[in-house]
Symmetry: C2
Subunit: 469 residues, 2 copies
């Protein structure tokens, strides 16, 4: 017992931290700092315990922990010795940045943020009842990762939904549940375009899908968009990703002739059917998959736009001939969709509550769309153009002339408006001028107020360009 | 009204399907089949309605739908004409395979399946109460994708957990919630190893992490595993992925000298700390991140093993200097973690219920481990070797001699046993012989019964190889 360091350990019986832990921390700190050198013999436990006034068991527990972590080694019959732990890693200790805790934005989207449902009209109480009921009746299954392809009840409800609403006859086994569109796109690429096979994507299009191709390293080709939607690929590609029901972001529905032309191509087709439930006249246009006789269409469905983005659930429907392949991929990578919300949504759909909600939202959005378009016509003249496709959750406003986009963006932000520019959805620089306005998440008063602000912000830009021209 | 086809449409007022829908379907079918050719004028609506006995509005609605989908075009003043929709895509219609609906396996894992918690000991009623309470008190937030980096309450609870259990001082803002380990690994690679930077992974190691590198196209180097855990990389790599607390699958804890050596290297370090809560003597070894003075460790945590795999939730802790980068990546790809289970788990942790459960499971597993090891010693002699590291959820049994693995696998499956071979976790072929046995998900009777079956299956293999040698 020569080393004063060992005797100077400062143990405090008043702490909730156990004494052995305090002792272990004190000694390991000395070893890390080099104050107790490699090879130093630690005091014999019995004598040490007596000297510092703790039980021998406390000292032995501290030594065991030091040995477990490699700070010390025990040599049979000779005692316990400090290890050579190497030098402390070179480097700098950054001053701990004090970051303000981000306050989550509970105020809802600002006008005219596109693609978000109005969660104020969500049936929160009914949903809570379903959540509670499922939670009480489950005895373990929903906390276990039992079904790698998705909850069977949910898959069955989705198959029914697709038959009734989208005109596609699929069986529940063709359905795979995903953690949203990005996860779904990665799963598709791993299944039909591994090893960097080229992929064609719409331009303009949905950035999340482009990002997935980028992440997985698949070369990207662009599909131009004309009045009939996505054009055919001009390169041989393994997969084309298209939005036939409602082109994102422009909004047109692909006519059947163009659909047939895509189906006659060589590659796989991903049909991204993100908000086709919202068609405001007639019935929803059947899915492209309904015309697919060659089993080449993979259907990508989402709940983020028609139901809730917080669930982070989406789904894929694979043709029968791809099922073995996708199952192998899923077994290797694991599913990323939480089982818990799947169970609840499956029961919610099965009972018809989902469809009642979607129908209610469609009525609500139809009215809001009319308010938005009427207000637009009343406030803006020939400076703005838009096309009415009678579907979707947003409208593209085209500027008749070139507009200073950075200036417009900053003025819009200042006015509390949130409309992305059309150029945000172009991936090759050659964007048309315009912006995307969503009308779904705002009531009549909010729409009219937002349009007033939009007029104030936008008019000088339109006038200016007109004057210049 | 010359064309008999139009007059022969078969409308049924007894159906729930609206008449306009029936009419639209009949005509579109004729157009698709080529029976109504491109350019054919559709009958004038008023006369047609009278002939087939429906209202004119019905005919107009059907025509609108045909026009919306591109089956027909309207020419001002001239009428409505069938479009040229191209030829039907060449291809084959596969006979619809009748797949049996897979019956989800509710029987629980078979002995000695590793890495799964015993969900029979899960506090289902208490969890259901939390689920119900959170569902009732939420008025929208949890159905909205408001927090891309994770629920703030859950992030705070995780920071507290890491301080109390893992000796790491982090702030809630450093925590990012993920949809499990595969998702987490992809997020890490996109943040610190984009553009195919090389990654070092333990061999043997965890296949899900290897798969993520493969998916993203990062070249892989192998870290050999010796008695001190993962060795240092022998190539320059951007990232090393290691399991210092409990090497997977071998089980040893990395001593502090090896930890310092890893920290002194050039690249980023991913500390995969998947089940460190389960240490059966002393206190958990502090995380490697606790020694990290250079802000180079990214901590990867999981709930799948200590709590529930069905939640599909995990988390990452990034050093401060990486936060801006990881936030940018998350904004581009979107979060994949469902908000709903995050909210519940956050409250469950905050109230201490999570730690009570983990402590209870640790006691339970400690006892089961002893039963397993005692039974092993009683039944097997020198034919089997294992090392006792006093931690984790499984034990590696090493065969003293070469064993016919395919034969052993099939016999084990026949006996209702589920033990992966050590070779399943080696990625370069050079595997040691042995198998991985989990002891957590089985009670005493199941362990003893399983060991009896294991003895019956394994003995002939061990004897045979002994006889051959």
């Amino acid at each position: 017992m020569s080393d004063a360091l060992f005797l100077a350990v400062d143990l405090d019986t008043g702490q909730t931290k156990p004494l052995f832990q305090q002792l272990y921390e004190a000694i390991s700190q000395h070893i890390r700092a080099g104050r107790i050198g490699a090879g130093t013999r630690l005091p014999a436990s019995r004598a040490y315990a007596a000297e510092i006034g703790v039980s021998r068991a406390t000292v032995l527990a501290a030594y065991d922990q030091l040995i477990a972590e490699g700070y010390a080694v025990s040599r049979q019959g000779a005692g316990v010795f400090a290890s050579d732990i190497g030098t402390v890693a070179a480097g700098w200790i950054a001053p701990k940045t004090v970051r303000p805790v981000p306050v989550p934005d509970r105020s809802g989207p600002r006008p005219f943020h596109p693609g978000v449902p109005d969660m104020r009209a969500f049936p929160h109480r009914l949903w809570a009842q379903y959540v509670g009921r499922v939670a009480r009746s489950e005895t373990g299954g929903w906390m276990q990762g039992a079904e790698p392809f998705g909850d069977p009840v949910l898959c069955g409800a989705i198959a029914d939904h697709l038959r009734d609403w989208r005109g596609v006859d699929v069986s529940p086994e063709q359905v795979v549940i995903t953690a949203g569109a990005g996860d779904a796109m990665e799963l598709i690429l791993q299944t039909v375009a591994p090893d960097g096979a080229p992929v064609a994507l719409e331009n303009p299009g949905y950035p999340v899908l482009v990002q997935a191709c980028k992440t997985l390293g698949n070369p990207r080709h662009w599909l131009a968009v004309d009045d009939a939607g996505a054009c055919l690929p001009d390169h041989p590609v393994a997969v084309s990703v298209i939005t036939p029901s409602c082109q994102f972001p422009r909004g047109m529905t692909m006519p059947v002739a163009r659909r047939q032309a895509h189906l006659a191509g060589a590659g796989w087709i991903v049909e991204d059917d993100y908000d086709s439930e919202f068609r405001y006249s007639g019935t929803p246009v059947p899915a492209l998959m309904a015309l697919d006789r060659a089993q080449k269409v993979i259907y990508l469905g989402s709940f983020s736009k028609v139901f809730s983005s917080g669930l982070r659930l989406g789904y894929l429907v694979f043709p029968d001939r791809l099922l073995d392949r996708v199952h192998a991929v899923l077994r290797a990578r694991g599913s990323r969709a939480s089982v818990m919300p799947q169970r609840v949504l499956g029961r919610f759909m099965e009972d018809g509550a989902f469809h009642r909600h979607v129908r209610k939202m469609r009525r609500l959005y139809r009215g809001r769309r009319q308010v938005f378009l009427d207000g637009l016509a009343a406030r803006f003249g020939a400076g703005l153009r838009y096309r009415d496709y009678g579907a979707g959750m947003s409208v593209v406003l085209e500027f008749a002339q070139r507009v200073d986009e950075p200036g417009l963006r900053s003025r819009m932000q200042g006015a509390g408006l949130s409309c992305p520019m059309l150029s945000d959805y172009y991936f090759d620089g050659g964007a048309q001028q315009g912006m995307l306005c969503g009308f779904c998440a705002f009531d009549e008063a909010e729409i009219n107020d937002g349009l007033g602000r939009l007029e104030t912000v936008l008019m000088p830009f339109l006038d200016l360009t007109t004057a210049k021209a």
